[in-house]
Symmetry: C2
Subunit: 572 residues, 2 copies
């Protein structure tokens, strides 16, 4: 490998829900030399909301462009300041990788320019990007699922059997219905993950925007098995105007080791980088995060943030068995040559944030205080059991129209009790996913965590280890999505300038694990096994169609008895 002699660096850009982060990474060992974060200025921490409709969440593309201008130079300046002994120079940046939230499609004009960048559209939220957590297309998602089940069941198999309101077609169709002026003005729709690389590459024709297989396969029902996107006939069944959009979308989707383009002269100038630096295919934060965390067969990567994404891979070329309720199983979506498997939970950090900030009206200090209070409780001691569905359920029920539930409150229930119960609820939700994967032959022997929540809160990992019954490890990088994007950039550039030739090779050099890990405690695990049984009863009764009800009559008593047992009977 030539880089040992000639230092080489890549930039990873991570477009999150509230901010974009740029990192400058040493291709030799994955070390981060510079980091810069740009908080989106629009809306509520970057998200346009509507008080009348809690399901609406949009994002202003102008924030993303501004983020490029601010975050990349910021990271380069820091790398220059600290990376001298590693031979860092801006002209040693050999590639740029991008990861983003998704499905976050936005309407564009014929040049591929975001409609919302035009002042005429700026104040219309329908012209903005439809952020991953926008659930306004719930009806459309249901209709897509219904229509596919009847006319094209093959479309549903790799996406877990249910098309989500969070995804590409639900959003576009919803836009068509409620904001037809935006739909009509849009020449095409592009995922954020594809749009940013195209901007950097100076693409000025929407037809030349390269679409990644990751977004296409997981969110847009794209597969080579049926020739790309869903057929004209299928879309026409939904709405003829949707079918008319199809030829203005795309026919091919690209794997992660091919370049999306090369840095345009204009952006090279703005950023102080070399012209023509290869830009990797964009990908979802979860996928590149898994790459950056060292995903491999038997290792589930859990990216725990506002929501959670679970990523596993199943190497091999034979077709994967369908896994009901698992939102995506796509060939080559995480890395070339393996089946990428994606699951997720719609609210994890967001659930705690709702409790601490939305209900208790506190801030970071209260997060810490409630963590401390929750840490003092033993499993089962709160007497509470919650469902983690305040933002719907992404896996395995795939139903955004589910809501939260908490049961077991007494007049003595504290905010810390609830805080712990909410963490436990997310752990139970995580267990449902793991059990489903294992049931269908995807081994999960250990879990590597990344994302903001576990890094801040060891209680999370303790509870997860006990609930999942598996060791919980921590990714070495605090920014695995950005690192994964930087790895993709290194692999993409490697093909052009020499270097790593596979993701696995790059991961071997550029990823690591932290020293600490959490292993299950048998006693806590037994309590959680019991609670999990109750969680499943609620989960199945409240999350499923009529007919699945269990015995609720004794549930509260069992909770009380359990609490009494673990607390020791207190009586004068």
């Amino acid at each position: 490998m030539m880089w040992a002699m000639a230092p080489a660096f890549t930039i990873g850009l991570d477009y999150g829900t509230n901010s974009v982060r740029a990192v400058v990474v040493d291709c030799l060992d994955g070390a981060t030399l510079g980091t810069s974060v740009f908080d989106y200025p629009s809306g509520d921490r970057g998200v346009t909301l509507d008080a009348r409709d809690p399901h609406l969440a949009r994002q202003n593309p102008a924030d993303w462009v501004e983020g490029l201008r601010v975050a990349i130079p910021g990271a380069l300046v820091e790398a220059a300041a600290h990376g001298g002994e590693r031979g860092f120079q801006p002209d040693r940046v050999i590639g740029i990788g991008v990861d983003t939230t998704g499905s976050t499609p936005l309407p564009v004009d014929a040049a591929g320019r975001a409609l919302a960048l035009d002042p005429a559209w700026r104040d219309d939220p329908a012209s903005h990007a439809w952020l991953w957590k926008d659930h306004t297309g719930a009806e459309e998602a249901e209709a897509i699922t219904r229509t596919a089940a009847e006319h094209a069941p093959e479309y549903l198999a790799p996406i877990g059997g249910t098309y989500s309101s969070e995804w590409f077609w639900s959003k576009i169709w919803r836009c068509l219905k409620v904001a037809p002026h935006v739909f009509d003005a849009a020449e095409s729709w592009v995922e954020l993950a594809d749009w940013v690389p195209a901007v950097l590459a100076g693409v000025d024709d929407h037809r030349r925007i390269r679409r990644c297989v990751c977004a296409a396969g997981h969110k847009a029902m794209y597969s080579r098995a049926w020739g790309g996107l869903p057929s004209y006939d299928f879309l026409a069944r939904l709405d003829p105007r949707l079918a008319e959009l199809r030829p203005r979308l795309y026919d091919d989707a690209w794997p992660a080791d091919r370049p999306a383009g090369h840095l345009s002269p204009e952006w090279a100038e703005v950023l102080g980088l070399g012209r023509g630096v290869p830009i990797a295919m964009g990908g979802f934060d979860a996928h590149y995060g898994a790459v950056g965390a060292g995903v491999e067969a038997g290792t589930l990567v859990k990216i725990i943030g506002t929501s959670t994404c679970d990523i596993a891979i199943a190497p091999g070329s034979e077709a994967m068995r369908d896994v009901p309720g698992i939102c995506g199983i796509v060939d080559g979506s995480v890395m070339p040559g393996a089946w990428g498997i994606e699951a997720g939970q719609s609210a994890v950090g967001d659930l705690l944030r709702w409790w601490v900030e939305g209900v208790c009206e506190g801030g970071d200090a209260l997060h810490g205080e409630l963590s401390d209070g929750a840490r003092r409780l033993r499993p089962g001691e709160s007497g509470l059991l919650a469902l983690d569905w305040n933002n719907g359920n992404r896996t395995v029920l795939v139903d955004p129209r589910l809501t939260g539930l908490i049961v077991g409150q007494t007049l003595h229930t504290t905010r810390a009790d609830v805080y712990r119960a909410l963490i436990e609820a997310t752990a139970f939700g995580a267990r449902v996913i793991v059990e489903r994967l294992v049931e269908y032959g995807v081994p999960v022997e250990r879990v590597v965590c990344c994302g903001g929540v576990p890094a801040r809160n060891d209680l999370f990992l303790r509870i997860y280890a006990d609930v999942l019954g598996r060791p919980m490890l921590l990714a070495g990088s605090p920014q695995t999505p950005a690192l994964g994007a930087a790895i993709a950039a290194a692999v993409t550039a490697g093909a052009e300038v020499g270097g790593y030739s596979t993701f696995q090779e790059a991961q071997g050099h550029m990823t690591s694990l932290r020293d600490e890990s959490f292993t299950p405690d048998p006693k806590a695990r037994a309590v959680y096994d019991e609670l999990y049984g109750m969680y499943r009863a609620l989960h199945d009764a409240f999350g499923r169609a009529p007919g699945g009800n269990a015995d609720f009559g004794s549930l509260m008593k069992r909770l009380l008895a359990l609490r009494a047992r673990v607390s020791g009977e207190g009586q004068a």
Copy 2:
């Protein structure tokens, strides 16, 4: 009636959960001339708690005695200052009435003195009074119910089919088990409602303490139909030592229009009142509160405070039909000559206090703020549905081992949403009771409310009117229990010195209604009918034995659809 010429006044004493109140009332028209409140100094606002056991709630009898010394003179001083034109003089006080919480039994020695007044016992909570809301005797209550169902079903019929952990025998038996030293030291056990009149009358032999039919019939399974308290044999089935206690309790219970005794010289001296003033039989706050609110056939009186008591009467001498789940149907318990019917909810004001003070950690200002926020929501708009069981369910499930449940939370749910949902939950719980009464032939045409909560919060009455579909009226007195006790004193004294000869006659002069009332809004009522259906589904599934489960699978969707409908679909 002679009082128009010779002014006459009575004192009503109201022993609540956190304080005792004394009022001086004009027998002519029920006007309150003086009031004084004494906050109990012990424990947490008068309640001894145990952090290890949320079911424990005890009370220090010393607080009650001190309350007599402070509150009565305080009320007399105020009456003297303001009652001159009505001819008030302390020597015109012709009677004293007492109402209290219950079932609140305490262990006493042979002289009828509270054990806890002895310094040797003072720090042992088991020797204190076992406050109405102490639920430590849940197991004992279940065993009593089970044993009675098998061997003496007649005991269960008038108490709704289930013996409660809040009641006399559950508590005494629990004490026997967990604090046998206290049980052994107790010569007898006395209800607070009987103990205070005995103290005032200077009774120094526990056998001369007159026990009221109200506490005996509603809480101790006393009935003339089977010769008083449960039989020796029945009690021996529970525990032989309990049976040995029986002869040291009582054989007769007294109706409300006979005197409990007459003021002792010592207390007359301390209080500045005439010796030998008649003291009415004590009664529960809810019963005397209903009297003070003007309870009559067709009028349900709802006393809404920390918990809620519903009182109705069914005049007539023919035996009442049993009403399943209604905790008490006792001949003469509310007033002589009518069946007193008692139901209740275990937490109402306490439920809101838990939310505002326990979880949101606010005070009175936050109560007001959340009321304002909740008032701005339309029925159904919160998207939430709660069960009001944080302190168990008293009617119609009669199960203290039930807990709270709230369902429907999103990431946008606010503390005001929850506040409103909790009020609605208590209204739905109230509706279950009203429907059960009506189903069994006790008409409920209107509801008269009293207690602290409705006086402070019109939102409560608005919601209750819409949920119950009946006009909600307000008692004229802000202190109906104390007024009812003063009415009982007037009737008791009437027999001795001339005056009112019946409760009805005294009520006609001494009670009133406030001008404002709340009538159901048809639109709101329709929404609440729909929510109530869901409440009943949760209520029946979570509150009943296996087999009663309903369709939960669609419940959240129906809640969301309902919210969307009442809020108007918000979409750009």
